[in-house]
Amino acid sequence: MRWIRKHLLAFAALAVLVYMLVPNVVVALFSFNKPSGRYNYEWTKFSTDAWQHPCGTPGICDSLGLSLKIGITASVVATILGTMVAFALGRHRFRGRASTNLLIFMPMATPEVVMGSSLLTLFVMMGVPSGSGAILIAHIMFCLSFVVVAVKARVAALDPRLEEAAADLGATPVQTFLRVTLPLTAPGIAAGALLAFSLSFDDYIITNFNASPSSITFPMYVWGASTRGTPVQINVIGTIMFLVALVVVIGGQLLGSRRQRAAA
């Protein structure tokens, strides 16, 4: 009894972990399935076919490539713009600062359906053709908000005395930014960039509104495929994405703790 009570917290944590990981485990498991029909919903037979031919289904790797391209471009642009906005908002008092704060927050609060459809209306009105260009503009727009929020928290927590100390010690404004400001806000910027990428990569609703038949992103492909049948390759790519995310997160953790230890 005592033992159980003592380890209650560990049990709870374990249960939550299982709850969160089960879907991923199932996806990974079914990537080794060889379904009998078009749908990969029932375990039939072990096979590594799909792992050997991840692009074996027409269109899947094109859609993955497009999603990666949009995801990377959107997150890079949104991170650069968002970081600049965050510094402006965090550092300077200017007229319209409060309303800018509100506007930045809007895309996060607006339901995606509303945003997707209104963007489509806007693009049609302005004569912007649907397709990957329109999708990219839309993604940059909503990713921007998340980057701003992530970076702004870091900027607000940054002690202005540190930059003064750098200047006092002879660092030019550029050196101060590169050696003090940037390293101290980097965790926020990295978090913003990762968030932007994953938001862009798996966005379905807004993308769907603004897509053309030639711009099928990965989530759209999966959704379209599920009405026709679900190729095992979807599970393979899903598993790979999960593993990549895992490596990034664990890598980040290790880097952090190694720094700590190096310092000790």
Partner: protein
């Protein structure tokens, strides 16, 4: 000292205004090159603001700042050969201690930056924590890192904003001696901000006592202590007994006779400002004697409190008009008294000083030492 020597720091009419609030009133100050200068004053009197203007972190509302003959008023902080030890340390949290210390040298492209940084850390007795992060050090250690980070650059002027505030008494004394040694060895100009009057008096060649944005008095520690020119300085620098008195015409050989609460007392002539009639007559507690042996000035009152402090005993003696005088007697076997006893206290004419009576007698007599 000649005012235009090469490295003297000169503040000419420097002032700072934050919107409607004047933090520093126009201030003229010359700090000779290589001297240890203390800026002393209560919290909020404008010490940090003055330092920040010298460092280039705050733009003065008016006035000029010069080092030697060079006007640096319009240069930016990174262009000035002035370094600051910040009140809040401001160590870079993402760098190791040694990288913090070598930061300034590396910005100037010094090839021996790492070696010099290590030496500076040895100097503040932190050689063994060079690779740690600032967050892993105690407050006192961080303060010493901040000190090393500034000293290592050998600036024209080193600004220290309460650099010893977080240290315990023993380490504080040790660092005071160390700071003095470093200062005389490398010959840097130190401007040391503190609200600890004892620290200012033991360390500085010259002290400027500041009060609400103004310099009340400037001078060497002994002059400031023996001849304060305002009640604020008299009370802020050590303790003072102030007696209300009027100057009489009758004057003898080098002394002025005054009357205080019906008692005839005398003060040395050159301790009385010219042309005033109503004065505060001030005497330091350790100049008063229990008994008649102190001199011709005598008052009697009742002892209300006795506190033994080891080398000395402090008495509170209530005068017939209500004010309590503080008397400090060395425990050298001379006259003792007990609480409740009626005693005579005496002092010599040269131990008194007179201040214009239009000032508040309690100005500056706040909490002796308000940091832990």
């Amino acid at each position: 000292m000649a005012g235009h020597e090469s490295g003297d720091l000169r503040l000419a009419g420097i002032s700072k205004q934050f919107e409607a609030f004047t933090a520093v009133h126009p201030l003229d100050l010359t700090v000779p090159a290589g001297s240890f200068f203390a800026l002393l004053g209560p919290s909020g009197c404008g010490k940090t603001t003055t330092l920040r203007m010298v460092a280039g972190l705050e733009e003065p509302t008016g006035g000029r700042i010069l080092i030697g003959d060079k006007d640096i008023t319009d240069t930016r902080a990174y262009q000035r050969n002035v370094n600051t030890v910040f009140q809040s340390y401001a160590l870079f949290p993402h760098m190791s201690v040694v990288d913090n210390v070598s930061f300034g040298l590396k910005r100037r492209g010094d090839k021996n930056a790492d070696r010099k940084a290590k030496e500076a850390l040895e100097l503040v007795q932190l050689g063994e924590v060079a690779r740690k992060r600032p967050s892993q050090l105690s407050g006192g250690m961080q303060q010493r890192v901040a000190l090393a980070r500034a000293i290592v650059n050998r600036p024209d002027v080193l600004l220290l904003d309460e650099p010893l505030g977080a240290l315990d008494l023993k380490l504080r004394r040790q660092m005071q001696i160390e700071l003095k040694r470093i200062q005389s060895e490398v010959g840097l100009t130190f401007i040391h901000v503190t609200h600890d009057q004892e620290e200012a008096m033991t360390m500085a060649d010259t002290i400027a006592v500041m009060n609400s944005g103004r310099v009340e008095q400037l001078g060497d520690p002994a002059t400031l202590y023996e001849h304060p020119r305002s009640t604020f300085v008299a009370n802020f620098l050590g303790q003072s007994n102030l007696l209300r008195a009027t100057v009489d015409r009758g004057e003898g050989n080098g002394v002025v006779e005054v009357t205080s609460h019906g008692h005839r007392l005398e003060v040395r002539r050159d301790h009385v400002p010219a042309g005033v009639r109503d004065i505060w007559l001030g005497v330091r507690p350790e100049k008063l004697r229990l008994g008649d042996s102190g001199g011709p000035n005598r008052l009697s009152g009742q002892v209300t409190d006795v506190s033994f402090t080891g080398v000395a005993t402090q008495y509170l003696v209530r005068m017939p008009w209500g004010r309590e005088l503080v008397v400090v007697q060395q425990n050298d076997g001379s006259g003792r008294a007990r609480a409740g006893e009626t005693v005579t206290i005496s002092w010599a004419a040269e131990h008194g000083f007179a201040l214009d009576a239009s000032q508040d007698a309690d100005a500056g007599a706040q909490l002796e030492d308000d940091h832990g």
